[in-house]
């Protein structure tokens, strides 16, 4: 039994106008919460669709739990919540859910029992009202999102793939989704989610992979990624009146490659080869009132900007994800 949930090797997908994924390899360990990060158009959705065998890669191999993903029924172990969500509008909630469960191979009786469990858990069935009998288009947007989650998880998948799960969610459902992810992890399931929101990834993920323009930029456990990028970021706070005095130092490209003004402090990326001590010395020389000077662990957001740059964000626009 492989200890990898997903093993992608040298996968590529080209379209007539552009390359969606260029020679991508990545490994997702079993039981991990894994973030697939990248700007819009980086190739996240294409990668996910290839894992699910919705799109056939031009080259490369994909294995799920140690088996080729084309193996019969292999994708039935995946629960998928796509970025573009929707359900049959005129269909009754219970029937939609039962249909989705049966497609994944859950026998009707078992599906029915689980549907009741989930409806109750997500408060779609209360003593006053049973929304399970309503048609999808009679539900509020938030309730439809809940039904969609249930549909994703009803067959108790070993691997859950969530594509931009937080986009368009109201805060309550976002919290419910986060709780669900934590719960899935606790039950030994593997969760992959793609996002361009680094804060979510930072809070939830054990490991991440950053892709941009169809290429992998970096991957690995979050702690390792941060450690690898540590020591090059400095949090600097000075008294408000001293700010103008140090402006010319921050503009010095031999010392500082990028500054992110966080209002209460500057988040400074050191230029390649620059010495933090030299920076401190220069600031002290100006006589500025230093309140904080600290070598910090960069946020994923910082790492992302540093490695991908603003250009990577700009160019992502094909809509193929």
């Amino acid at each position: 039994m492989s200890d990898l949930a997903i093993d992608i090797r040298n996968v590529a997908k080209r379209y007539a106008e552009h390359v969606a994924v260029r020679d991508l390899s990545l490994q997702v360990p079993r039981g991990a919460v894994y973030g697939l990060l990248g700007p819009n158009g980086a190739g996240k959705t294409t990668t996910i669709r290839m894992i699910l065998n919705i799109i056939v890669p031009d080259s490369g191999t994909i294995e799920l739990f140690g088996q080729p993903h084309l193996t019969n029924g292999a994708t039935d172990r995946i629960g998928y919540l796509p970025e573009e969500r929707g359900l049959y509008k005129k269909m009754q909630v219970r029937r939609v859910l039962r249909f989705l469960a049966e497609l994944k191979g859950v026998p009707g009786k078992l599906a029915e029992a689980r549907i009741e469990e989930w409806l109750e858990r997500f408060q779609l069935r209360t003593p006053e009202k049973d929304w399970g009998l309503a048609k999808i288009d009679e539900l509020s947007r938030g309730m439809q999102q809940k039904v969609q989650f249930i549909g994703t998880l009803l067959h108790d998948p070993d691997l859950v793939i969530l594509d931009e799960p937080f986009s368009g969610l109201d805060p309550i459902n976002a919290q419910a989704l986060k709780d669900t992810v934590v719960d899935l992890k606790a039950r030994g399931k593997t969760v992959i989610f793609s996002t361009h929101l680094m804060d979510n990834a930072e809070r939830l993920c054990d490991a991440v992979c950053i892709i941009a323009r169809g290429d992998k930029v970096l991957d690995g456990p979050v702690t390792a990624v941060k450690a690898a990028h540590g020591g090059r970021v400095i949090a600097l706070a000075v008294g408000g009146e001293s700010r103008p005095a140090i402006a010319h130092i921050l503009a010095d490209r031999t010392l500082v490659s990028r500054v992110d003004d966080q209002n209460r402090f500057y988040e400074i990326n050191l230029a390649p080869g620059a010495d933090p001590q030299r920076l401190l010395q220069r600031v002290v020389e100006t006589g500025a009132a230093i309140q904080r000077f600290e070598l910090v662990q960069p946020s994923l957001h910082q790492i992302f900007l540093e490695r991908v740059g603003a250009s990577g964000v700009e160019e992502g626009m094909s809509g193929q994800g």
Partner: protein, 435 residues
Amino acid sequence: MDKVSLRKLGVVFKREYLERVRSKWFLVGTLLGPVFFAMITVLPILISTKTHASTDLANVTIIDATGSGIGERVAGALRQRFPLSPVPQVRSVDAASIGAEEDRAMLAVRDKETRGYLVLDSTTVAGTSARYAGRNAGSIGDVEQITSIVRQQVLAQRLQSEGIDAKRVAALTGTRLEVRTERIGDSGREQGSGLGAAFLGYIVALLLYMMIVLYGQTVLRGVMEEKTTRVAEVVVSSVDTDTLLAGKIFGIGLVAVTQVLAWVALSIALAVYGGPLLAKKLGAGAFAASAIPSISVPALGALLLYFVLGFIFYASLFAAIGAMVNSQEDVQQASMPVMLLLVSTVIFMTPITTNPGSALARTMSLLPFSAPILMPLRMTLVSVPWYEVAGSLAGVVVACLAAIWVSARIYRVGLLMYGKRPTFGELARWVRHAG
């Protein structure tokens, strides 16, 4: 097809079938169908009996320029045939003043004093022609009646001029012959009248067309719904597009078959309980003429086969269109080519019904896109050689496979492609690269 795909096919099939059969519209359509068919079957009978009973047919002006008294004879015959009608006016004139008399008669028709006028001249005596003008000149039944009376009277006049006694002439010519028709096929004499067969063929072809259009478009709408609601992505992550497409087409096809079977059952019930009532009202003769001719079992099998193949052919094309479009506005334009194929088929229904042996009929019943509708029509009218049926079936099967192949590819790519409608160039690329 492997076991997993087969199970998934079943799940998709079940959803497509049950969701539609359970809908209100299906119930309404199923109940109203027989009423509609009763209307289109009974109405023509009602109309034709009404023309038989047309009582004021004799309310005409007869312009007699023969100088032989045929005008009076015709008037007499008309009076006799239509005792309830206002009596015909006979104007005996010379050939030169026909025009003036016609103008006068026309005014009378225009002012609705008479229904029309009949011109008898030297050509009538010669037995070649007469002329009728009137408001009912377009009614085949009325003109047929007048023609037969004039013909009879010219004949009577000739017999009398040969010296035969007037009473004998009346006895000899006073026949009202009706021709009953019977069809002869490969297996000899067949039950039911030839006209009944024509009527049945027409209904069957119309029904085939209707079901293909209605349920073909249901497939289109179903695909479009999955695409526009974005449910498609969840579904295709669990089942491959070929299985999904097949399940959809079979599921909806079975809905169509269910509906037709329900219609047949309801119609039989209606005929059994409503038929005698109708017969009493219209007179047994009128109803017997249109009694449903029996169909042989092989013919029924062929009919079902043509429906299934025709439906698969058109449904896969409609599915491809559903996968191409993103909005209701696009649908009409995008489905135009397929609708044109279907409509061009229907246009030929009438010429083929009247002349089922023509080259046109043979060609159209062999072309794959029209064969599913027009071959069953031809088969109910005349006996078609087995090799023509086999050839047309083979053609339809090939066309089906081609349509499925192309459509499955367009469907696979188009289902998750949002944005503008593809151009022909892009479609061709979808088909090429969808492997």
